[in-house]
Point group: C2
Chain length 615, copies 2
């Protein structure tokens, strides 16, 4: 196998309680690299196999034991001095919250340490009857009883398995109670504080009764051309160090650096997106975090950025000794989206999310939707059981975290996610989601390109498969007008393709503030030992994105699902820098489909052939 790969995957059949290994398919790796790309390739293989067997994946429940869950690294993962090289990707054929393809990505240590344990990835099939965990230690894998771990939060699970496996480079990925309870907003958590998996990847893990995967080992990840790699790596890390975002903004303020910036752009959603201006955003800004809550920074394995925060709340009802984060998205979803500017409560709720294994964007947005439903009188009082869901009620929001993770009291309804919650109470238009996935913290009425990204992202309302905030707000690689729709289709396509490759190498998206396709081509070529051009970097990404979209078609999605909530299309922004704006989605979408060579939102046979995608 080429450099950068361990060369093999673990295949875990939980129904049969069997672990086998299979080699990385080199031909597939050349076309899809690793990480997300290789996982999409594998998911497509499963889809084909199911079609052959006459099984309709479209009608299959996401929690069906036949659903498959894939943990995968890339050739950059675990390579010292590869830019931000700790990450792994998680995918599933069908996500519980959306019914779409499920996809998530996480840093910390686990991805790198899986490589050190001797594997590029783990494919999980079937389901166990009783809780189990997988131990992958020094090239060997074993399914073990996890009945004692079931019910534990992510911290205790992690610590228990760190103690059980005392080897070098030990790391744990697991689910918390939310995943066990099959909450469709449950995440996969690694290293206590890092999460993968919007749309309920944690619930898929829970449905398989797979509590955790602990990895440990000290195998080196091979680098094909070490001297050349060192030179390219030095160049890239130097570029990152000198970049305003990766060298200064993120290290100094964490991701929360964006709060004031996006609020000033009039695109920081407030009270379930009723406005894009939070009048008190400074109370929950990155500056405030640094000044009043920060204990120290925290970096993922091998990362030179170090955007992670360790925080504390010193007193009061939301006191907590040590918490991680909060991140920009959490500050928004558990804060501004709910009309809450109580930073103490946000830190506390963020920590509870980590502990219980809840995905904060979707949970916070669902609480926000419930607040609007309730304030408008759509929720019968008896359903709330005394919970006062009103915008600005910080304590109710924190309590809602508990309730959602355990589906208890009104938590049963909250745990549906915003789409089904709003449908239940007769107002689906109040769910600020796309394809059932709640949108992140950028109002596209004020940043148009991201609206097209939300609408067309395969997994649903997502910002990280095509982060046009980079040019539209940050000015990288160049500053463009956030309020125009001109040229946005091309930006979205370019970012979606490039990001698909970055998620397949697999390293942190934040590197793309500083590095471009040329850098990735040089890095990959020298790690793997294949000559990959800048153009190929983009083409590989496009290939991945198209195959993923092809699978989406098989799951029943079409162009009609590439849309936005009516609030963004019809209600003009009431105030701020984007006052009066709506999202002119149809025009952008038409142009985007044309650029993609898609018809009715789906790749044509010609397009797939051009991209060498065999379906």
């Amino acid at each position: 196998m080429a450099g950068g790969y361990a060369g093999k995957l673990l295949k875990l059949d939980l129904t049969a309680r069997k672990v086998t290994t299979e080699p990385i398919n080199e031909k597939a790796a050349q076309k899809y690299i690793g990480g997300k790309g290789y996982a999409v390739y594998l998911l497509h293989q499963y889809l084909r196999e199911y079609e052959k067997q006459g099984i309709s994946v479209k009608d299959m429940d996401a929690l069906d034991s036949r659903n498959v869950l894939i943990f995968v690294t890339g050739p950059g993962t675990g390579v010292p001095r590869f830019p931000s090289p700790s990450r792994y990707h998680v995918m599933t054929l069908k996500a519980p919250l959306t019914g779409s393809i499920g996809s998530g990505n996480s840093g910390g240590e686990w991805g790198a340490f899986l490589k050190f344990a001797g594997f590029d990835g783990i494919v999980v099939e079937g389901a166990s009857d009783t809780p189990v965990y997988l131990a992958v230690v020094d090239g060997k894998a074993e399914i073990r009883d996890a009945r004692e771990l079931w019910g534990m939060n992510t911290m205790d699970t992690t610590r228990a398995l760190m103690s059980a496996v005392k080897g070098k480079n030990t790391s744990v990925t697991c689910i918390g109670p939310a995943g066990e309870n099959l909450v469709p907003m449950a995440v996969v958590m690694n290293d206590e504080y890092r999460a993968a998996g919007r749309a309920g990847l944690g619930a898929v893990m829970g449905s398989k009764k797979l509590k955790a995967i602990v990895v440990s080992g000290d195998k080196n990840v091979p680098v094909a051309r070490p001297d050349e790699f060192r030179k390219v790596s030095d160049r890239c890390l130097d570029t990152m160090a000198k970049n305003a975002v990766t060298g200064e903004g993120l290290p100094t303020y964490g991701t929360a650096v964006l709060v004031n910036v996006i609020n000033e752009a009039g695109a920081f959603p407030y009270k379930n997106w009723q406005s894009g201006v939070n009048p008190d955003a400074n109370r929950i800004s990155g500056e405030t975090l640094t000044e009043k809550y920060l204990v120290r920074n925290r970096a993922c394995w091998g990362c030179t950025i170090g955007c992670g925060r360790i925080s504390t709340v010193k007193s009061g009802p939301f006191q907590i000794v040590t918490a991680e984060g909060p991140e920009y998205e959490t500050i928004w979803s558990l804060g501004s989206a709910c009309g809450i500017n109580n930073f103490d409560a946000i830190v506390k709720a963020h920590h509870l999310g980590n502990e219980l294994g809840l995905e904060p964007i979707s949970v916070g947005s669902t609480i926000a939707a419930a607040m609007e439903l309730n304030e408008k009188g759509y929720i019968p009082e008896e359903d709330l059981q005394g919970l006062v869901l009103e915008f600005g009620n910080a304590a109710a929001m924190v309590e809602a975290m508990w309730r959602t993770a355990y589906k208890v009291g009104f938590g049963k309804q909250l745990a549906l996610g915003s789409r089904k919650l709003c449908e239940l109470y007769g107002h689906p238009e109040l769910s600020m989601s796309v394809k059932g996935l709640e949108m992140p913290a950028y109002d596209p009425r004020g940043i148009k390109g991201i609206g097209l990204e939300y609408a067309t992202a395969n997994r649903g309302g997502c910002h990280v498969t095509g982060y046009t905030i980079s040019p539209e707000i940050v000015g990288i690689p160049e500053k463009i007008d956030p309020l125009t729709i001109e040229g946005k289709a091309q930006w979205v396509k370019t970012f979606q393709d490039f990001t698909s490759t970055v998620n397949s190498t697999v390293n942190c998206l934040f590197t793309t503030f500083a590095l471009g396709a040329k850098d990735y081509a040089d890095l990959l070529s020298n790690v793997i030992g294949w000559d990959i051009s800048e153009d190929e970097i983009m083409k590989i990404g496009e290939r991945i994105y198209n195959l993923e979209r092809f699978i989406m078609g098989k799951l029943g999605f079409s162009d009609k699902d590439d849309t936005l909530p009516p609030r963004l299309l019809k209600e003009p922004m009431p105030e701020g820098a984007a006052k009066g704006q709506v999202v002119e989605l149809d025009k952008m979408k038409e142009e985007y489909y044309k650029l993609r060579g898609w018809v009715k939102g789906m790749p044509t046979a010609e397009k797939l052939k051009e991209l060498e995608v065999e379906v």
Copy 2:
């Protein structure tokens, strides 16, 4: 069968999924009446049967499927105009928290409605593999699937089954998440707000996977001599209406009427019993409850006292629209015991306890013990996972309710109960419990008689099997000095015996503030149609208490377990009305054993014979 009895029990074999009926044994009823007495009789039958089979109940786990759980009413239950006639008793051979006999009693509606459904009681044997509930409707019983109910709180469970069974007089008793999670401080909750079962009867129910019992029906409970009964009943209800406690104190202030009274006596335990004086008790008094939190009173079925409260917290971090209570014991355990005088937080935590099915005396006391352990530096910081367990931290206490019910984070340790928690951290002396059961809200250094009651109560640290507070503080039937030990042994014995009968009729103990043995003799005689004398009322109670104690011996208990925590025996009360006092337990205990005719804390063969107890 005589009046007052439905005449039959349901017998539920959950392992075999079978329901049968068996007649009330009239001879046993004459000796043990019903309620607790009849349950003790039944438990003794099980014990004998197990002994025959060579099964050691002493070594059996309380959550073993062979443990038996009994719900039972008495001849007074469900009889209109019987004083406070709604109640039922729950017993188990072995309680999870203590290993002692388990016993609890509850009002509301369920007890009366079980009679209306046609049965005196329900005996639950075995355990189901999957969650079930029992429906008892109009004389028929059916085991039904409860998988949809599993995970629900007590409110949702109750409402779901009230909807499923729409008959007359429908009522639900059930467990919440705490019972499902086998927390040894889980209760059985009926009618959303009424609880039975200290020492983990809810966990026994959970171990059997029995989520709930819904009852419904409109059968009359027969009264043997209706005209005579009416006269006696009128007299008793009139006495109760004119009594200062049952006619005024309890209706006006609820059980919280005691807060200021007991604090002034220097016996209101504060900060895990480090003192008997709470300097700020007035903030959490019955007067404050009535003035600032009370929405309305609430009475159990047929009760003329109406001590229940419906409360609200209007704003702030512990806001809650509608809650029940809080009761005196809760106000103390979740408040004063933890050094907390934030009434908002107490109301909130009390409601969470009801919802999740937690027993507040033991949980609050366990949190208080953890606070003392932590303040003294005995708990490693990493175990607490950021939870700031310090006296007075109201938010941490509320959070601890969530954690305990779900055994999550430090809740795993809290859910052990105070004895095992304090043992775990090397300081068993800080558990303020007897036989593993946390003591209620009266410091016996200031009220000596209750100390003997705590030490000798069969189920462990308990105030309701011999409530000497009545003479020692309230002055009923006469005022005696709380600080002397003179004569206390006799008072304790008398109260324990009398209470055993009252718990077998079964009606509310609060009636005993106004009614005496003569009243009970007259009430019972006319309901049942047997002539029961005042002396027999006391003898029946003594018989029950002795048989219960005999069973305790079989479970491995002896005189050495009839003790108090060292703090009460050795640390003089530091301040207040009882300053300098300790409990002179040995002297009282010696006298008590003598009065009881017990040797080494156990009834002799002669004593049992005298009481016509066949063992």
